[in-house]
Subunit: 323 residues, 2 copies
C-alpha cells in the first residue's frame, strides 16, 4: 500500500504514516487505537443523525475481535508496519457494526453493548439509514485495496445471506442442525475467516499460510457464535450488554436447534425446560473448544512470534469468555 | 479492463467478451440487455428469499436511466467496446434498486414499478435484508474497478445522506428551499453525476470532458427528481407504477417546499389546497427545463456522435416524461 487509503493519492496522511512504535504487542494496541480513531473520523457527516448514531454505537465499544484478528494475522505473517491494515481492520468492524444496527431493527433489540440501541433512540427509519451509511463507509475504506475487495465482498454477501437464513428459519420454525451450521458459518465465521486471510494477504503471505489463516478464522468464528448463543441463553442483559434472551425467544441460536418442532406452547419456556433436562450447553461448549483447538493447531504453519501467541490467546479468550 | 470483473482473473467470460454488434445505438441496446442479464445473474443465491425478492424488483423493470447514462457516456467519449462498462452500469442500477427497496420500508410503500413492493410481499425484515444483499452485490460488481471505487463510494454515501436529510426534514417538518436542493442533489443527482463521469473515466476521457459529464449528470439528476416529485403530486398510481401521493403525504418533495410551516391540519390537504392556488408545478417544470438545457449545453465539450445525440434526447425525455 503506497497510496492513501481514501483518495488513492500518494499516502501523505500523517496518521497512517505513523510507524507503530514499540516492540511486540504494543504495536497491536497502537494500531487498534488508530482503528478506533479512523472509525470515529470516517463516520463524520454534516447529516447530524448519521454521524451521531454511528458514533453512539461505535463509542459503546464492543470486543473489536475482528480488527484485532486482522492486525494480528498481518503481524504474524511478517509485516513490520501495520498501517496498511488499519483501514481494512476498521472496515471489517464497520461491516459488523452495520449488521448489528440492522439486526437490532429486525429483532426489536433495545440494548446493545450496554447502551440503548440505535433504533431505540432514533427509531427504525434512521437506524436503517445508519446501517446503510456504515455499509457505504466500509466501501469507502476498502476502495484503495484493489483485488482484495472481491474477498471482502464475498464475506459481506455471506453475512447477509446468513442473517437471512436465520430469519427464514425463525419464520418457518425450522432450525435443523445443518441449517444452524450454515447460518453461523455465513453470518459470523465468513467475516472472521476473511479477516484472518486479509491480514496475511496484506503481508503477501504464501498460500500455505493463507490456508492456515482461513481455517483459523473460520473455526474461531464458528466457536465465537456458538459461545455467543450459549451466553444468550445463560447470561443476563447486564453482563452481555445486549438484550438477553432475544435469540432464544425468537427461536434462533444453538439451543433452539432441533428444539422447535411439535410444541404448541411458549417456545421460550419450552427451550428452557428442555435445556435443563439435557446437557446441550455443555455439548456446545465442547464443540466450540474442539473448533478452537483445530484452529490453533493450524497456526503451526506460521513462524513462532509473539503475534502467533496472541492469536492463540485470542482464540482461547473467545471460547472461554463469559460475556 | 483486461480482467474478469468478478474474479479478477483474465477475462474469459463469454458474455462479457462478446463485442456488442452493430453500428450506432444498437450497441447501447445490446449492452443494456447484458446489464439486465448480469443483474439477474449476480443476485442468484441459494438463499431463496434473497434471490426471489431481488429478481422480483429487477423484473418489474424501471426506466434504467442510470445504466443507460453510463453506457452512453462511455460510448460518447470514444469507447469502441462497451463491455468494460457493463458491470459498472449494472452496479449503479443495483445501488438505486437497493435504495428503493429500503425506501419502501420506511415509507410503507406497497406498489413499486407497478408491482407489489418487496416489503409488502416478504415483510420488512426480508426487505431490509434484500436491500442489504443488493448493496453487497454492488460491492461485488465494482470490486475489479480499482480506483473508480472511491468515486462510486462517494456517490453511495451521498445517496444515503440525501435519504436521511429527507427523513429528517419530514420528521422536523422543516423543508426549506435550501434543504430541498441539498436533498435532491445527494439522494438523486450524485448517482447520475457519478454515472456520467464513470462512463468517461472508463474511456480515459480528458478532464474537460469529465467536467462536462459531471455537469450534465448532476443537472439531469436534479431535473429528474424535480419532475419525479411533480409527477408524485399530479400522477396516479397506475401511471407512475408506485404508490402515488406518499411523498406529499409525508411532507417530502418539491411541492412541500416552504409549505409545511404553521399549519396544524392534515398536511396532505394543506399541500393540495395551496397547490391549486399557486403555480408551483409550472415553476418546477421550468426549473427542470433550465437545468436540462444547461446540462445539454455542457455536452458541446464532446465530439458530435449519435451517442451524444442520444444523451441530449435522454435529457429531454427526463424532463418531458409523464410517468
Amino acid at each position: 500500500m503506497t497510496t492513501h487509503p481514501f483518495t488513492g493519492a500518494p499516502d501523505t496522511d500523517t496518521q497512517l504514516d505513523t510507524a507503530f512504535p514499540g516492540d511486540g504487542l504494543n504495536r497491536i494496541d497502537t494500531a487498534l487505537r488508530s482503528v478506533e480513531q479512523l472509525m470515529f473520523d470516517i463516520v463524520d457527516s454534516d447529516v447530524d443523525v448519521l454521524r451521531d448514531a454511528s458514533r453512539h454505537i461505535l463509542q459503546a465499544g464492543g470486543k473489536r475481535i475482528r480488527p484485532r484478528m486482522v492486525l494480528l494475522s498481518h503481524a504474524a505473517t511478517g509485516s513490520g508496519d501495520l498501517s496498511a491494515a488499519v483501514p481494512a481492520a476498521a472496515a471489517i468492524e464497520l461491516v459488523h457494526t452495520a449488521s448489528v444496527v440492522h439486526d437490532d431493527i429486525n429483532d426489536h433489540g433495545v440494548v446493545r453493548r450496554g447502551r440503548p440501541s440505535v433504533n431505540s433512540i432514533w427509531g427504525r427509519t434512521f437506524a436503517l439509514l445508519t446501517g446503510d451509511f456504515l455499509f457505504t463507509k466500509v466501501y469507502e475504506l476498502m476502495a484503495p485495496y484493489g483485488e482484495l475487495n472481491a474477498l471482502f465482498a464475498e464475506a459481506t454477501i455471506a453475512l447477509v445471506e446468513g442473517e437471512t437464513l436465520q430469519a427464514s428459519a425463525v419464520k418457518d420454525k425450522n432450525l435443523s442442525r445443518e441449517v444452524y451450521h450454515k447460518i453461523i458459518e455465513r453470518k459470523t465465521a465468513a467475516l472472521f475467516k476473511m479477516g484472518a486471510e486479509l491480514g496475511g494477504r496484506l503481508s503477501a503471505a504464501p498460500e500455505k499460510q493463507l490456508e492456515a489463516l482461513r481455517l483459523y478464522g473460520n473455526n474461531i468464528g464458528l466457536a465465537f457464535q456458538i459461545v455467543d448463543d450459549i451466553l444468550d441463553l445463560t447470561g443476563d442483559s447486564e453482563q452481555l450488554g445486549k438484550t438477553a434472551g432475544i435469540d432464544i425467544e425468537q427461536g434462533k441460536g444453538f439451543a433452539a436447534v432441533q428444539e422447535n418442532g411439535g410444541n404448541g406452547g411458549d417456545p421460550m419456556d419450552a427451550f428452557k425446560a428442555r435445556l435443563m433436562q439435557g446437557n446441550r450447553i455443555q455439548q456446545g461448549r465442547q464443540q466450540a473448544q474442539m473448533l478452537v483447538e483445530t484452529g490453533i493447531a493450524a497456526l503451526d504453519a506460521l513462524p513462532s512470534t509473539p503475534y502467533r501467541d496472541a492469536m492463540i490467546e485470542l482464540a482461547q479468550v473467545v471460547v472461554n469468555r463469559s460475556s
